[in-house]
Amino acid sequence: MGHSKLLLAGVSALAMVCIGLPAAAADKEIVTVVKVTGENWFTRMEEGVDKYGADTDGITARQVGPAKADAAQQTAIIQDLIAQDVDAITIVPMDPSALEGVLRRAMKRGIVITTHEADNLQNTQVDMEAFDNHEFGAHFAEQIVECMGEKGQWTSFVGSLGSLTHVQWADGGEEYAAKFPGMELVSPKNESFNDANRAYEIAKEILRTYPDIKGFQGGSAIDVIGIGRAVEEAGLEDRTCVIGLGLPKDTGPYLETGAVDSIAFWDPLDAGYVMNILTKMTVMGEEIKDGMDLGVQGYNNVKVSAGPGEGIIVRGQAWVDVDAANYKEYPF
């Protein structure tokens, strides 16, 4: 009696292991690698990644990233993931060109590679962009031009000249504003190094150098915070137009005082979710077609074009404009 009970337990345990094993093996593991862990932006993205994992059967989705925004540390993490032999890696590169080598190695090992914010990257199968970066920059400039009454001096900021997307926004804005003869771009593409204090210092220097300046286009998400502070301290809230990428919670106080007029962003939650959708489709060998509806707001009619390498670029129209009236609707 005792023996048969033991045997039964043993057999059922073995059976459970046997059932469990293939199920676990069939689960495809998609890892999202971000620029840095813990920034509000990527914390919000992680919500999207987790949501996708919970919504989708047969997929384990998780997000990792370095503690410091550093291209070398990001490379090390990807090397680690290659060694772990995950099924797919989807990356928001710190410096796209620095990752070419390690991504090529990963793809040779049969790991699916997709990216976000890196439409110049060669070694990727799918690059997802929330929107066309030139259009996004033009979108900022459109608001700035209108706010300035189509004339006056304006300037642009970038997190760093190595941040491709920031440079594309600045260029897109510049091209748009060039259509208006009254608009004079001064000291373009100031580097804030993602530091609000540096953005503040440069903004003050610009206010001194060009006392009549009216427009500021922010690049990195904290540029508008630094610019806003400089504008507020100078008492120029009503005379200037400060518009750029920003996060509602961080920029809120400056939207309230009018030092920052309007911010735009794409929702990192949706971006994380869509990156994983596209990655899963690639893992499963499904074709991503032009005009497809991915079932997420802003990605209902995606544009597919050829990338610089073998891969494709998928673009949505997913920007969100926010000002003092509605920033509270976005809790991040």
Binding site: G38, A69, K189, E191, E201, E205, A234, G252, P253
Partner: protein, 342 residues
């Protein structure tokens, strides 16, 4: 021009050059002064809007955090060590203290917050000093290690996201102004009161280095540690003191950074180390220790901040700004080594 006149003229010129170099070597403080004047004249000639009070205010304001760091580096450097963990100490202290106050004592006044910052910084500095003593390793290596450790601690255990809702007292302190001027284009320029903290810190450092026994011990240990030990100076105690003092200044600098910036971001201040060390060296402190003055250091800080704050004014495109800054430090550093060799 004949050979003889050419020869005399060039020998004269060489003599005068040598004399100038020797004079500079005797008066190292003249070097940053000369460079500051030179930069001001050049920038002022290119863009006359350089000559306005607003600019002076901005440079003073931007000098505070760097200046506090530099005073700490000077003290450690004078004792023959090199300290590079100050920015990480500041980040750790400012973020932890701000977060603690926001969560547990949001109504705390600025004075206790500053004391907490100073105490936290001192503790981190003491750790540096003890490690240098125990490990008998070069201070540079130890502080490179703790630089990463402190930053890792803040990001792993304290938090990584920036927040804007800093304590009211800190926000208010950053907004207190000594002077407000409305300039010609009708915007206000302000000289923040926290500039005074740098003035006080510089005076305290001067007194310690020049008027106390520990000050004499610091220079002695930095100059010739073996001889200093034989003379009865207790080297480990001096080490512990200089690192604790540098840590304290870094802690205070961190609190000021948050107050001025009106947000707490644990990623801030990283990468500011080399500019601070450059400022101290430009101010006449020898990188090998045993020398350096508070006045020179403050001028070095002013010089670095000045160059950092006029590149837009001069119209240098942003692609060139860091390169120009680097070239400037290199040039100045080379010139300084030249005077030292003579």
């Amino acid at each position: 021009m004949t050979d003889t006149t050419f020869g005399t003229a060039s020998r004269d010129r060489e003599n005068r050059f040598t004399q100038a170099i020797e004079w500079l070597a005797r008066n190292p403080i003249a070097f940053p002064v000369l460079l500051i004047c030179l930069v001001c004249l050049v920038v002022g000639a290119i863009n006359p809007s350089f000559w306005q009070v607003a600019n002076l205010f901005d440079i003073l304001r931007a000098s505070v955090v760097r200046g506090l760091f530099a005073l700490g580096v000077l003290t450690v450097l004078a004792a023959g060590g090199l300290e590079v963990s100050f920015a990480s100490i500041a980040a750790l202290v400012m973020y932890s203290v701000t977060k603690f106050v926001v969560n547990y004592a949001p109504d705390l006044g600025i004075l206790p917050i500053l004391v907490m910052g100073a105490a936290g910084g001192t503790l981190c500095g003491m750790l540096n000093g003890m490690l240098v003593n125990w490990l008998k390793a070069p201070a540079l290596i130890v502080t490179i290690g703790t630089q990463y450790a402190f930053r890792g601690i803040v990001l792993t255990f304290i938090g990584t996201s920036l927040f804007m809702n800093i304590p009211v007292s800190m926000d208010a302190f950053g907004q207190v102004n000594l002077m407000t001027i409305t300039n010609s284009s009708e915007f206000e320029v302000k000289l923040p009161a926290y500039v005074l903290i740098l003035v006080v810190a510089a005076c305290v450092t001067w007194v310690i280095l020049n008027r106390t026994l520990i000050g004499r011990a610091i220079y002695a240990v930095g100059g010739k540690p073996e001889i200093a030990e034989r003379l009865g100076f207790r080297v480990p105690r001096v080490q512990l003191f200089v690192f604790s003092f540098a840590g304290m200044l870094a802690g205070i600098a961190g609190i000021l950074h948050v107050s001025a910036n009106r947000l707490a971001n644990p990623f801030d201040l990283a990468g500011s180390e080399l500019a601070v060390i450059a400022a101290v060296v430009l101010g006449g402190a020898r990188i090998t220790g045993g020398a350096g003055t508070v006045g020179g250091t403050m001028l070095g800080v002013l010089l670095i901040t000045l160059v950092n704050n006029v590149l837009v004014l001069v119209g240098i495109p942003s692609t060139w700004q860091t390169a120009i800054l680097g070239g400037f430090i290199l040039f100045a550093g080379l010139f300084f080594t030249l005077t030292e060799k003579k």
